[in-house]
Assembly symmetry: C2
Homo-oligomer: 198 residues x 2
DNA sequence: TTTTCAAATGAACAATTGTTCAGTTAAATG
DNA sequence: CATTTAACTGAACAATTGTTCATTTGAAAA
């Protein structure tokens, strides 16, 4: 019993990543063994090493492609118009991109400490790039005189924390429809930057 | 070589908790071994079992007393006056209590998934009790007609996420003094509930 | 069909894990 | 002082860890 019927790298690789992501989100990186991941894929532990040189790199790849996908998606989003409209666009983009990716987001925030220093620095820089997207909007609004903000950096971090916190409680089966929640957060963001809500 | 000179439970117990807290904050619960904790205390692994029946209970005790201390501190805080003043009081209380407790806060949010279901439910209830403190203030303000909030529960969660997120970036050596940051957050909270800032 | 090669097995490895416990030592009690 | 008891040691345990590798299998290319 060796090579499985109908198996090749193009199908197994994403399955390894998906299994790792789900298990790490559930139990934490250190608590998940390569054998557990392998079992979820339906393979022996040794086979995983066809797809990653080691466990650490597997984690890094997950976090890195998460940030990569985020920044790529953001890059193609519309970023025009007045500051207030751009702010609204960012809020909606953030919510719509993050909420359906619970496991990825969770792991990306929780497992940073399990990265080697070099790997951590790399992810951290990507994260800062994303934060800078929002801060640039706040700066623009301040420059245009439509936002009133004491400190753009602090406000940026506060807004992002507010948004990212959604992943901790939002459930599709929850009390309120997503569209309404989205409106509430757009409104909160507008207020945070000193714009009167409509 | 057995009992250490000058050692007794009253001194060792808190040292075990402190060592566990610090190591878990740094590496994560699953990644920290009982031997590492013991080494930090200056003791053999077996000795830890004078202070906890097992590793899981050690974690639970840390999280439980964290929430206990939080709720106790909150209970003795001033909770009078108009809604707007109570809101300000809550924000300042939250910041002043949480910021100096980086490790505790970090562990309390990160290691929930490593609790058994019953232990998790217990901690979760305490957390909800704390959140209800804030929501009650929002409801009061809405009832008094001084707050304009679409949904008190959502706004509560958004505010708490915003506040708790501070622990991820605040450093004493940072760019802004804590007093100023506190003002900014009070202002953000006021705006979030629809009160014009002064 | 035969050949080639990618994909997986399964056993093995040294190290480490949480936990137990009989024995040993220092502090507290009389 | 002598006795008791609380605190700790150190070895042991079965299980599990990440990783390696010779071997085997199925799929693709000739």
């Amino acid at each position: 019993m060796a090579r499985k019927t109908g198996s090749h790298a193009d199908t197994t690789r994403p399955r390894v990543r998906a299994a790792a992501l789900q298990l790490i989100a559930q139990h934490g990186f250190a608590a998940v063994s390569m054998r557990q991941i392998a079992a979820k894929v339906g393979v022996q532990a040794g086979a995983l090493y066809n797809y990653t040189p080691d466990k650490q790199t597997l984690l890094f790849d997950l976090l890195h492609s998460h940030m990569d996908e985020l920044l790529t998606a953001r890059a193609v989003a519309v970023r025009e118009g007045p500051a207030c409209q751009q702010l609204e666009g960012f809020i909606r983009f953030h919510i719509r991109w993050h909420l359906p990716r619970g496991d990825q987001v969770f792991v990306s925030y929780m497992e940073l400490r399990n990265l080697t220093p070099e790997n951590f620095a790399q992810i951290e820089q990507l994260r800062r790039t994303y934060e800078d997207e929002l801060e640039a909007i706040l700066r623009l609004g301040v420059a245009q005189g439509v936002f009133v903000v004491a400190d753009t950096k602090i406000t940026t971090l506060a807004l992002i924390a507010m948004l990212t916190g959604m992943n901790n409680w939002y459930r599709e089966s929850g009390r309120l429809p997503l569209a309404l929640i989205e409106e509430i957060y757009v409104d909160l963001a507008r207020r945070a930057v000193g714009v009167a809500s409509d």
